[in-house]
Structures are given as structure tokens and as C-alpha cells.
Symmetry: C2
């Protein structure tokens, strides 16, 4: 991009799961502390240099009766006085927070910024939880009729199967792969393997979406510290990863307003913009972290990105470009407003060569994509060594 070169210098994450014993602010702090420790290990004491904090969160007000998380978390993290903002774009809130941190540094207003995604999603259950989690859909035209995200994914999958003559079993590979990778990730919620032959017969969630297809919503926090290449290189930092592209786009908000519900236009636009900034084509991407909340989402994203012809996304070759390398939303878990930050943390670990058992050999350039609602919002980042 023609703007300032931004780099990632610190990353941190908590395990994804049910964190009933930890408050929202403390969960955020665990990820921030890990990111600060990581930056320190890479050669820079960031705590006194962070000037802006962007919090990605979706449910704070509804689940925890707590908004105004920017100032709250900045204070709790020992960063009192800094700029601090909550950013929200449904389930894409996490990557949006990372993008705002990047733009804050690019703007020249600050030299270093922290993005933290945090979600306490399991404090509510039943109807309350569903009410909170459907606020990323259209309250007046979708939610009022009982629509939920799994239901919308069910509609999409049904239509896809109708159009292209596919069966539920055809989508199994994405979930099998996610669980295989999640099994090796200490931060993942699900570390069990699933078998392709069991996939089509899992209990239904929203026909034809079933339990082995839908990612679990859970609690978690992840954090990323960004600065300019200048600051990082002046400090002779190690493990510096470049932000090569960052872009966000929207689509018609509701499925019923789209000309073609099987085309994710926000995914297309944000991918094109991010790759254009990076100056690369899709072919150089070694590793993909997509928003696999449901296998149909992954399928349609791969098609909109140009990785597959329409009607063939489910056949994507996972050996060609590794996907969901730490388990993705499906096995690592989907902590909503934190998910997009987890993706950036995981991609950074891969590009640094610090992915342990999950390491993708020779990963040099990766792409992470976080979606809000039914891909009404898409945020795409391209990172490189």
C-alpha cells in the first residue's frame, strides 16, 4: 500500500472456552498481558508506547451490561490516559479492531496501537443468548421473524445444495480439517477429531446445518500490538510481521435484499482491496484463515475470493492452501468479537514459524478474513514476513 508500512510486534491469546470464573476485563487483560510479554520478548517494552486501544466486542452491553469497554479495559490494563475505543461490526468486530489500530498508526496520530478482541458469550443461555447473538442480523426484518445465524446459514446451504446438487457429506472436509488442526492447538475449545463419515449424521442445528458443521460460540480474548516498521526496526525487534493489506467492505445487509444470495460480495470486495494493497495475486498466499462459522460460509467465501468456480468451493484442496490451521472457528471456537483477532494472532504465529505442531512449512504470506452477520461485513488482512 502507499500508506505507512505497519507491522505486528506483539500477539497474545487466551484459551477459547467457558470462562465463567473470569470477568470480561480480566479476560481481555490476559490477552493484553500475553501480547505485551511477547513484544518484550521480541525486543520492545510496549506498555509505555501504546497510545491507542481498540476493543473488538459484540455482546458487552447485552451480556455483561457493560459498554464503554475502551476506557474500562485500557484502565484495567494499566494504560490509563490513552485513547480507547470499542469497535463493533457484528462477528467481524475483532478484525475491525485490528484494522482501526492499523489505520490509527497510518494516520500519523499515534505510533503504536493495541487491538484486543474480547467476548464473554457463555454468561447468557437460552433465549437471552440467542437474542444477544442475533443482533448482527436485521432486527426489524429478520430477527423479528425468528431468524438466527444458524438459520440463515441453513437457508444458504439449502439453496446451495439445490442449485448444485451437493449433499451434506460434501461439506465434511472443512470440519474434519478444522478439528484435526484444533486437536494440536492448546488454545482450542475442541481438541477431538471428527470423522468424515459421521459428519452427515450429526444432530441437526438448522436443517441442513448440523452440530459438526456449526462453530461453537464461546468466550475468549486475543490481542495484537501494531506499530510502524520504522519503530520496530529502530528497536531491532525480532519476529516482526508486516501488514501487507487491510480492507473492509459491506454488502446488502440482509439476504432478502441481495440479487444473488450465493455470492458474498463483501468478501469479494475486501479481498480484492487487500490483495491490491499487498500488490500480490491470490496465488502467493500460503495459508488461509477464513470465517468458518459454518461450512457453507467457507464454501461461499472461497468462491467469492476466486479460489473456486461457483458451485465448487466445497471441493477446495486443503493441501494446496492450508486452511483453519489452528482449528478455525469450528474447533478453536468462535468468541464472536474476539474471533478476528485470534485469526491475526494465529497467522502471525505461522509466519513467524512459531506455530509448533500446527506449523505450515514455508508460510510466507497469509490471508485472514473475518465476517459479520451473513457476510454483510467482511474484513480481510494480508500479512507477510
Amino acid at each position: 500500500m502507499t500508506t505507512k508500512q505497519i507491522v505486528i510486534i506483539g500477539i497474545g491469546q487466551t484459551q477459547v472456552g467457558e470462562h465463567w470464573d473470569v470477568s470480561l476485563r480480566h479476560l481481555a487483560w490476559q490477552a493484553i498481558e500475553a501480547a505485551l510479554d511477547d513484544a518484550a520478548a521480541n525486543g520492545l517494552d510496549a506498555v509505555n508506547q501504546i497510545e491507542s486501544v481498540y476493543v473488538g466486542n459484540m455482546l458487552g452491553g447485552l451480556s455483561s451490561q457493560q459498554d464503554h469497554l475502551g476506557a474500562l479495559i485500557a484502565d484495567y490494563a494499566g494504560l490509563r490516559g490513552v485513547e480507547a475505543v470499542t469497535v463493533e461490526a457484528g462477528e467481524a468486530s475483532g478484525a475491525t479492531a485490528v484494522r482501526q489500530a492499523i489505520m490509527a498508526v497510518q494516520s500519523g496520530q499515534v505510533d503504536m496501537a493495541l487491538a484486543v478482541g474480547v467476548e464473554k458469550a457463555t454468561d447468557e443461555t437460552g433465549a437471552e443468548a440467542i437474542r444477544s447473538m442475533t443482533t448482527s442480523l436485521d432486527a426489524d426484518f429478520e430477527t423479528i421473524h425468528g431468524a438466527t445465524l444458524p438459520a440463515m446459514a441453513g437457508l444458504l446451504m439449502q439453496r446451495y445444495m439445490h442449485e448444485y446438487g451437493t449433499a451434506v457429506a460434501d461439506f465434511a472436509n472443512f470440519s474434519v480439517n478444522a478439528h484435526a488442526n484444533g486437536a494440536k492447538n492448546e488454545y482450542a475449545m475442541f481438541r477431538n477429531l471428527i470423522k468424515a463419515e459421521k459428519f452427515p449424521n450429526a444432530p441437526l442445528v438448522a436443517d441442513p446445518v448440523n452440530l459438526f458443521d456449526a462453530a461453537p460460540v464461546a468466550d475468549g480474548a486475543a490481542a495484537v500490538i501494531v506499530t510502524t516498521a520504522e519503530v520496530a526496526y529502530s528497536a531491532r525487534m525480532r519476529n516482526v510481521i508486516k501488514v501487507l493489506g487491510s480492507a473492509m467492505a459491506t454488502d446488502a445487509f440482509s439476504l432478502h435484499d441481495r440479487d444473488d444470495i450465493l455470492h458474498f460480495n463483501a468478501v469479494k470486495l475486501s479481498t480484492e482491496r487487500a490483495l491490491k494493497q499487498a500488490g500480490y495475486g491470490r496465488e502467493v498466499i500460503n495459508i488461509l484463515e477464513l470465517h468458518d462459522a459454518f461450512t457453507i460460509m467457507t464454501t461461499l467465501a472461497l468462491e467469492a475470493m476466486g479460489y473456486a468456480e461457483r458451485g465448487t468451493g466445497y471441493q477446495f484442496d486443503l493441501n494446496q492452501t492450508p486452511l483453519s490451521t489452528f482449528g478455525g472457528l469450528k474447533a478453536r471456537g468462535n468468541p464472536l468479537g474476539a474471533t478476528g483477532v485470534y485469526q491475526i494472532v494465529e497467522l502471525t504465529r505461522q509466519l513467524r514459524g512459531q506455530a509448533g505442531e500446527n506449523q505450515v512449512p514455508d508460510a510466507k504470506i497469509g490471508l485472514a478474513q473475518n465476517l459479520g452477520g451473513v457476510a454483510s461485513t467482511a474484513v480481510t488482512h494480508v500479512l507477510g514476513v
Copy 2:
């Protein structure tokens, strides 16, 4: 500032009041439409040039079961495809949205951005409304004990009166001034005058804060379009107003964590940063729009900004630097997440010389300040001709 010169090229607002007949998205659209019309009247058709939308909102999820307002409102406003984000910082959400729009343009990622603040606060009443509106305080340590913002303002005012020996009547001028200005503002919620001698005897809200002291929370939307000076001047636009400074700061989140509850440190820090960017001292400011949710907030803000010695802010000379020139939060009304955008719209009207009956003669440089919680967050903008 050393960053790109940003200018305001379009402004719009709706009346503040009870908008039960208008949906959240339509209320936002009314302000956006007015801002687009205004930009067009100034010489530029902005609708196809806006690349980012920042929505300032506080209650969407709680009052309207609607989050993900960025994509929703962008779509409804005919801006499908653009980047769109909700930003939240309690009652400072509006100015935060403006600041993010400014930073997006400064980052070089986009050339034109829209900030819209929108709030539907009157859809809830009673305990539900109080629950929603107190989410800007600390849920775990303040709200749980029954604290509300008027209660916190009451604590501050009580302490102030104790420390400095002032009486309730001493704070009357701020409200009398706000209502006098609101009476001439067609967008204001309250257009009645109040008399100084009636002030101390108004019905109590949270002792010693009374009804004539507390700003009314209401519905409203306001919008601002920003771009670079280059774009505006190339298009030979009229009525272009410069953003000379933009800054945000936080304080200890809760009063009980502050060393000195009568010092608003976020106000001090954000004012200093914004004036430093502008390259001016306080003395060149012709006009002030402060966060007068309660007279004690105005008093303490003026002291923290250096306009008055400690213990004397309530004596501020309103003839020296006009304040709340369209009625402020007190008379124009306080539509929470939209309030900070109203302040920027009003200041822009003043600096353009388009303030009608409310015009401050020779207004050249103005300052707007939006606070979140008990000044846990402060956002300060300096605008100039």
C-alpha cells in the same frame, strides 16, 4: 498537526426529541441525507466518493436489539459496499465516530468518510432505560450498587459544593444560557427559557442535581462528511471548515479509582493534545461546545481545560467565550451516541457563519468536547475557518 489536513464538507442533523415514529436506520438516514445535500450545495456530490462510514451509537443492541449498525446504515443510506463500523465510547461515541472518520482519511486508506451519530433512547422507559443508559459506568463496581450517571454527577456536585462552599444557585448560569440559545435553535428539544431564580428550586433528580441542571436524554441523529483539503479545494468547494486538532484520552474508569474526583484528567489530556495539534493556545478559541450533561460536568471541564482556577469554573464568563451556542446537551438535548456529532455540526455552522439567530460574531476557531461516562473518556476537536 503534521498529518494530512482534514476538512469538513457536509453536515446534517435531525431535530432532537422523541422519534417514536421513525426507525433507527431511518433516523440515521435523515441526518446522512442532510449532510449529502449540504455537501452538494457546497459543490461536491459526495455519495459516490464516501469510502468509509463510522456510526456513533451507544444503545442499539440494548434498546433496538440491533448491533452491526455500520453495514445496516451504510446499506440503507445507499452506500452499499463501503467500509462501515460502529464505534462506541459511552456518551462520547459521537465525537469518537468523527475522530475515526478523520483518522481513516489521514491514514491514506480512504479519501472521504462519513461519521453519523444516531440514538433511539426513548424506545425504552423506566428500569430498562436506566439499565441501558448506565452501561457507560462500571457494571461490576458501580452499576451493581445502583449508580446512574445523574447519581455520579450528584456525588461530584456534592463534593464540589463541600470543597468550595458553593450553592446550587451558583451553577444556574450554564442552564439559563443553554435554554436561551436552545430557544433559537429549530433542532433543539427544549425551546423554553428558564430563569436563574427558579433553578435552585427545580425538582431533584439526584441531590443536588435537579431537573434544570440535568440534560434530557433523547433521540436524534447528526452526520458529518470529511475529506482532505486537497479534494475539497480541487472541487472548489464552498464553506470548507478545517479540522485543526482531534484527540481522545481516558481517565481512571471509575470515580473511586481517581486520586482526585474533582479533576477531569481525560479532559485535560485531550484538550492539550488537540490544541497542540492545532498549534494554538486556549486564548484563540472563540466558541466552546462542551459536554454539559450536568452543570458540574461543564464546571469541572472548564477547570481541567485551564479556563478557570479550581473551584471557580462555575463563574466562567459566558460573554468572553460563548458556550452551548445552540443549547448544548441541556436544551438541544442529549441523544447519547449522537451528541458528539451534533457538537461538530453546530460548530461547523458557527464557523461558516450559517448559525442564523445563534450566530456568534466573528467565530473563527472553535472547540468541541464530548465526554463518556463520568469523563472516563474525553474527545476534543478544534475546528477553524
